[in-house]
């Protein structure tokens, strides 16, 4: 289980996360929506500790990071191992082939033998439908393929929770489906996921809960079917109307 307690993050004077509380049960999928600048990316980056929150607590299973006290690099690293991040712009390592991208974490961070890591990476790439592209460099892959390598790279570290930051928003429309399909399969296998996306079809089909963020707060949350058909908050209503236009 992932639990976020009273999370605050500000950049200088700009308060971006203003007391976020959220619990995600193991195996559940939470979709985060909200207008640009509402802090969705910042929330995910805090969960991966790419940003250090100013205040609050993060907990995954029995590991806790409490940001009101000093957290050490070591704590951050061991916490980070439990979350896998998928970036909007993929951020693959361009000098490594698809399979090398996936092997990098296991070999360098987990000290797994190359042979074994390669086998595992091969399985992961097959799982995301790229069994025939393992030796391609990122520049030789389409956006959708690169993003699927990105997912495999994160999965290779065997995280407890997968974080997706608008994984399909940089993709041509015809490539979105293949990435969402992989994510859907992951969800069906019981992966705990926090997904920032405006793909409402995905949210409706896959999410157990949708949260609507604005101004650094969670303004509304609920099951997708309820939230999309009758949102209780005025701002959520407006935002959903905008999306469906």
């Amino acid at each position: 289980m992932l639990s976020i307690n009273n999370l605050h993050k500000q950049f200088g004077d700009l308060v971006v996360l203003n007391g976020i509380d959220l619990k995600v049960e193991t195996g559940k999928v939470v979709v985060v929506i909200g207008p640009s600048g509402s802090g969705k990316t910042t929330l995910l980056r805090c969960l991966n500790v790419l940003e250090t929150p100013n205040q609050g607590e993060l907990q995954i299973n029995n590991q806790t990071l409490d940001f009101s006290t000093k957290v050490t690099k070591k704590n951050i690293q061991s916490f980070r191992k439990q979350t896998g991040m998928v970036f909007q712009t993929y951020n693959l390592f361009p000098h490594k082939t698809a399979i090398e991208n996936v092997m990098e974490g296991p070999v360098i961070v987990q000290n797994i033998k190359k042979q074994k890591a390669r086998e595992k990476a091969r399985q992961l790439l097959e799982k995301v439908g790229l069994g025939d592209k393992m030796d391609y460099y990122p520049f030789q892959l389409s956006g959708g393929q690169q993003q699927r390598v990105g997912i495999a790279r994160a999965l290779a570290m065997e995280p407890e929770v997968m974080l997706f930051d608008e994984p399909t928003s940089a993709l041509d429309p015809e490539l979105i489906g293949e990435v969402l399909q992989v994510m859907k399969e992951l969800a069906e296998e019981g992966m705990t996921m926090v997904v920032v996306t405006h793909e409402m079809g995905f949210a409706r089909d896959v999410a157990d809960e949708v949260i609507f963020m604005e101004g650094g707060h969670i303004v509304e949350h609920g099951h997708p079917s309820e939230m999309f058909s009758h949102p209780s908050n005025e701002r959520t209503k407006e935002f959903l109307n905008l999306l469906s236009e």
Partner: protein, 202 residues
């Protein structure tokens, strides 16, 4: 030849190590290290190479530090290469998108692992053309070592001219030799670039 080539190779190797260390100091975010790096680069870039060589070879003697010509030249050229190349390497590291660091951290790499496995390999590709420039300049600059008694290629030519009185012939021959070395180096540069460009769209 017999001196020019080892002088260049040794000085460039030491210089590169110095350059990487200096660049990392500059980017460390630790004020003291940053200042050390800045001062070093500023002094070396702000003074003529010839003057630096004179200080090392002729100057240090007066405070009791006596250095033979060849090691003195090595020290001078290494310090020089280190300063100039550090700026090249710093710029190359900074040119790698922030997302590469973040992707490295996101799979739990630490700073050193990210640097070594992800950032430096990409920065190397970017820095090969300007570093090749430095290398080629260094080959020619080693002729300055003649002024501190290193019998490298140019000094050798001077010595022969002194007995044969054929300056045009001998200096032209020296020029051709420098050119040959530099030409071979630029072939090497092409090969390295071609190899490192395998993972970018052409």
């Amino acid at each position: 030849m017999a001196r020019t080539i080892p002088l260049t190779l040794i000085a460039f190797s030491i210089g590169l190590v110095l350059a990487v260390v200096t660049a990392l100091f500059r980017l460390s975010g630790i004020k003291l290290l940053e200042i050390i790096a800045r001062i070093y680069v500023s002094i070396i870039r702000g003074t003529p190479l010839l003057v630096q060589l004179y200080i090392i070879f002729f100057g240090l003697v007066s405070i009791g530090i006596e250095v033979d010509p060849f090691p003195a030249a090595i020290v001078g050229f290494s310090l020089n290469t280190g300063a100039y190349a550090s700026e090249i390497i710093r710029a190359a590291i900074q040119s790698i998108p922030k997302g590469q660091w973040e992707a490295s951290y996101s799979i739990s790499m630490n700073y050193g692992q990210a640097l070594r496995r992800i950032i430096i390999p990409q920065a190397t590709r970017v820095s090969i053309p300007p570093l090749s420039n430095s290398f080629i300049s260094l080959v020619k600059d080693t002729s300055l070592a003649s002024t501190i008694m290193v019998t490298e290629m140019f000094r050798k030519s001077q010595e022969i001219v002194a007995t044969t009185y054929e300056p045009l012939l001998l200096y032209t021959e020296a020029a051709l030799l420098y050119w040959t070395i530099c030409f071979l180096l630029s072939l090497g540069q092409d090969a390295i670039e071609k190899h490192l460009n395998r993972y970018v769209q052409t």
